[in-house]
Assembly symmetry: C2
Homo-oligomer: 125 residues x 2
């Protein structure tokens, strides 16, 4: 389905465009208060926990590129590449569930290893 | 698109079913000789390099579950969860390109950190 045919993809892309252009507060308007996010480090419950996870990441992005985006009525999958200050070429993938225009569930996958290595290499890290 | 409407998704799912049921040689029949695979550790060129990356992973899988699968004529995206011997709950995402029934490009994302931690914790690791 294209964005026009998939309500979930439309929301996923609007959210994606917002955070990849550093409009994090705009991105948060697509996040349901009771979102459940399954992230590499574990489960996050609620919009505030999600904000604490995603907000700091958005601040370190220097470049992003959408690799693929698909969706149906309730589900969308995005894959993208990002460059960040500590790690270049840090791709991610998200599978999101949309209800009433808000993202209620997100499964997000990325490789934490280079971020961990960068942190260890940093002064005081 | 459904599997019947997307030739790329059909190949992606056939490949996926093969390796998740430990039929790795059957899975390899969907891999183009000149596949380029962008994996977390870097770029792999060719089917033999791909075999060296994916073969050992298939051997440690104990359970797998498809989370999402979408595709169009030439591209498919899969997200799945796997349990492995060293790491439980090790999800992955793949964006694949299919040409003439074979996978010619794969971008695969997963979190290497828990695998690295398991290796460090293992005797002699």
């Amino acid at each position: 389905m294209t964005e026009n045919e998939s309500p979930a993809l439309k929301v996923a892309l609007a959210y994606h465009r917002a955070w990849t252009t550093h409009n994090f507060e705009a991105a948060m308007t697509y996040i349901a208060e009771d979102i459940v996010c399954q992230a590499p480090a574990g489960r996050l419950d609620g919009a505030e926990a999600f904000r604490g996870f995603m907000g700091p990441f958005v601040e370190i992005i220097t470049h992003s590129k959408l690799i693929a985006a698909f969706g149906d009525r309730t589900t969308a999958v995005l894959m993208y590449d990002t460059d960040t200050i500590p790690v270049k070429d840090a791709p991610g993938a998200e599978c999101i569930t949309v209800e009433d225009g808000k993202i209620t569930h997100m499964r997000i996958i990325f490789d934490r290893l280079p971020f961990d290595a960068a942190r260890r290499a940093a002064p005081g890290g």
